[in-house]
């Protein structure tokens, strides 16, 4: 919360929004839906507000819109307290695209767009033609909104907002109901207009990939508080998101950090024990492989989502000889092997058999979870025997912090 990105040139222009201690409570409720937010949105930035359902995103946007009044704390809009501005003063500066589309509205696009004409903004007919032409959607002009596809209707709403020539554009989940192609089309236009006209954009987004791809900055909200604000790569990582969106296990995108790729690492895991470890390795630019994993396993899904190379086994099947050999290839090709603490049964016991080959694996780093595996051993001792062997040759870690130190020394 303290790392406000100060791109502002010597503070010459006040920020589009500056919130300090911003709080909001619904009438008749005890708890604040928004509990003391501090953030700055600089003019010309492209910011997305993300967070799980019920986090207070929409309420925050409604406050920024001026629609929900009676907030506590302060929210400045270009240097002036938002609550002191009239609806018309606000209308001259900012536009809005709601979550809902204008479903079933039997107005032509032109008739609808003409409605954006309101004091003090005047929309002329030629302007509508111009912008429709520029965006290559002139063919929509005389079509009824009710007959348009979801994507087309959304674009018309975007044009409506742009015709207001806003300095700030607020969007509430603008593409949630669109397919991928239309989401992209919408954002490409938005991004272009943002760049050309220097519009400040603040959008609530559900799709974190979209947020990461298009937005310069992300505000992550949970339980009415800001968890983190900053560039996408800083905000959208397993540490901040994992607990917010998915509880302990989640499959979200992890990206390699800056710098040269480091060595190859093979991870042996299962049941979600590997996620954080793999994510950390990816971020540190290791080339990660993983296996053997049964398809559908939560670690398997995580690897899938992050394009980690892995040896896969059919769901609920014991590891085949063939896959065991494949896994061994990966292990031999890696400079380090990491063994996580996962439950071991007859089906995946083969994952530990590489212990037999240790003698010929001279010089290879082995890192193993340091916990007592006896309660994870469902093989009647076979697994523990293998683990004894492995641990003897391995460096051990008790928790993720210790693990972090170990891999930094690799």
């Amino acid at each position: 919360m303290d790392n406000k990105t100060q791109k502002n040139v010597a503070g010459s222009m006040p920020p589009a929004f500056r919130a300090s201690g911003l709080a909001y409570r619904f009438e008749g409720e005890d708890e604040n839906i928004i509990a003391g937010l501090d953030f700055v949105i600089e003019p010309g930035s492209f910011v997305s507000i993300v967070g799980p359902n019920g986090a207070g995103k929409s309420t925050l946007l409604d406050i920024m819109l001026g629609y929900k009044k009676g907030y506590a704390g302060s929210l400045e809009f270009f240097g002036r307290e938002l609550s002191s501005l009239s609806a018309r003063e606000l209308a001259a500066e900012r536009a809005y695209i709601p979550q809902q589309s204008e479903d079933g509205l039997r107005l032509s696009a032109y008739e609808y767009l003409k409605l954006s004409n309101s004091d003090p903004i005047k929309t002329r007919g030629e302007e509508i033609d111009e912008i429709l032409e520029k965006l290559n959607i002139s063919y929509l002009k005389d079509r009824s909104i009710a007959s348009m596809s979801g994507g087309e209707a959304r674009l018309v709403q975007l044009v409506f907002a742009l015709l207001r020539k806003p300095r700030v554009l607020l969007l509430d989940e603008p593409v949630s109901y669109l397919d991928y192609k239309n989401q992209q089309a919408f954002f490409e236009i938005l991004k272009k207009e943002h760049a050309e006209r220097g519009i400040t954009v603040a959008a609530i987004l559900h799709d974190l990939n979209l947020a990461a791809y298009y937005c310069g900055e992300i505000i992550l909200i949970n339980d009415g508080r800001i968890l983190k604000q900053g560039p996408p790569l800083e905000v959208l990582n397993y540490r901040t998101l994992g607990s917010v969106f998915f509880g302990a296990s989640g499959f979200l995108q992890t990206r390699p950090g800056p710098g040269e790729p480091r060595g190859r690492v093979h991870v042996i895991c299962g049941g979600g024990s590997g996620e954080k470890i793999i994510a950390m390795l990816i971020e540190r630019n290791f080339i990660v492989s993983c296996g053997v994993l049964n398809a559908g396993d939560s670690d398997w899904r995580f690897c899938r989502a992050n394009s980690v190379a892995m040896v896969e086994e059919e769901p609920y099947r014991p590891i085949s000889e063939e896959n065991y050999m494949k896994n061994l290839e990966y292990i031999k090709a890696s400079s380090a092997v990491i063994v996580c603490d996962f439950p071991i049964g007859a089906g995946n016991l083969a994952n530990l058999k590489f212990a037999d080959e240790l003698s010929c694996a001279g010089g290879r780093n082995i890192i193993c979870a340091g916990r007592d595996f006896s309660e994870l051993d469902y093989t009647g001792g076979a697994a523990s025997a293998y683990l004894e062997k492995i641990k003897k040759n391995a460096r051990l870690f008790k928790n993720i912090a210790e693990f972090e130190k170990l891999i930094d020394s690799l």
């Binding site: 629609y67 536009a95 039997r106 709403q157």
Partner: protein, 323 residues
């Protein structure tokens, strides 16, 4: 265009048909203000002029205010009676009849007062809380049923149940030309006034926050439109009694035919409503010898199937249904 032709045909038919059929030549003479060959026809035609005029303006006004109600309340199931106009008018006219006011003007005055009181109450109660369509409609429903129960009590205790009943079912028997002229003046003036703001009605139909974002004070216009439409509607109801369904289905039909743009929708509904009621009146006078069916029954009998027909056609056309 078709609606205009239909309207003209309806007017012509209404002149000639009825308990006494009148030859077209005589009607033409009458309309040209020439003296008629048969003197008896003159009186009948004079009555029919008033009746047709009343039917047109009642239908037109109800349909017009129906559109205004639907768009202001953002609810296509709304009709002008939703906020208590009919219930208030019915209760007060029943009271007037029970209290032995026999002049139709007195009953109209009572009905008008009742209509305005009830719709005023609904709006005041919702305004005190939050002036949302949701609140308005719910309050309207509550008040409607409250007044209806009151009406039942009055009817139960009254010795003039028959008369009250007749009033409730609506009638286009208007006696005085003045009455119609004043109604025309008011309804047309109010309609023109609202037509001037047709773009605001378009706005009220679209997303509320979007409208907020462009700085338009929706509550102000909502109140203004509802008040004018209510006055219009109360004025009509006070003279004709309760003619249901026109205010609901004509706006719907008009939307299906010309779309949601109020610049077209409002005048179109006006004419369609008037035409529709002329035909309903024609049916009420000609369906059976020697009896005039109450007009309110005919509008429902004709309106409901017509409406279902329209909906079915729309489904077939594959349009995305809404409301």
């Amino acid at each position: 265009m078709t609606v205009f032709l239909l309207g003209a045909a309806g007017v012509a038919l209404s002149f000639s048909l009825g308990q006494a059929a009148i030859p077209p030549g005589e009607i033409a003479d009458f309309l040209m203000l020439r003296s008629l060959a048969d003197g008896r026809y003159h009186a009948i035609l004079k009555m029919r002029v008033l009746r047709i005029a009343a039917a047109f303006i009642a239908g037109a006004g109800l349909a017009f205010s129906g559109v205004v109600y639907q768009s202001s309340l953002k609810n296509y199931l709304a009709d002008p009676f939703m906020l208590g106009i009919s219930a208030g008018a019915a209760l007060f006219s029943a009271l007037a009849i029970t209290m032995k006011f026999h002049s139709s003007l007195a009953i109209s005055a009572f009905a008008f007062t009742g209509a305005i009181l009830s719709v005023g109450a609904v709006m005041a109660i919702s305004y005190a809380r939050k002036f949302s369509s949701y609140n308005l409609i719910l309050t309207g429903i509550a008040l409607n049923s409250f007044f209806s129960s009151f009406l039942t009590v009055v009817m139960y205790l009254s010795k003039d149940m028959q008369n009250i009943f007749f009033w409730l079912m609506g009638s286009l028997d208007v006696r005085y030309a003045d009455q119609i002229i004043y109604t025309y003046l008011f309804v047309i003036f109010a309609a023109c006034y609202i037509l001037k703001y047709s773009h605001i009605l378009d706005l009220l139909r679209i997303n509320e926050k979007t409208v907020f974002s462009i700085g338009v004070d929706q509550d102000y216009y909502k109140i203004k439109f509802l008040v004018i439409a209510s006055l219009m509607c109360a004025l009509i109801v006070s003279q004709t009694g309760i003619i249901g369904f026109i205010g609901l289905i004509v706006p719907h039909a008009a939307r299906i035919m010309v779309g949601d743009s109020h610049r077209l929708l409002l005048p179109f509904s006006f004419i369609l409503g008037g035409t529709m009621l002329i035909y309903c009146d024609l049916i009420s006078r000609t369906a059976a010898d020697s009896i005039n069916f109450p007009i309110g029954i005919i509008t429902s009998l004709v309106g409901a199937p017509f409406f279902i027909f329209l909906l079915a056609g729309r489904r077939k056309a594959g349009e995305r249904a809404n409301g």
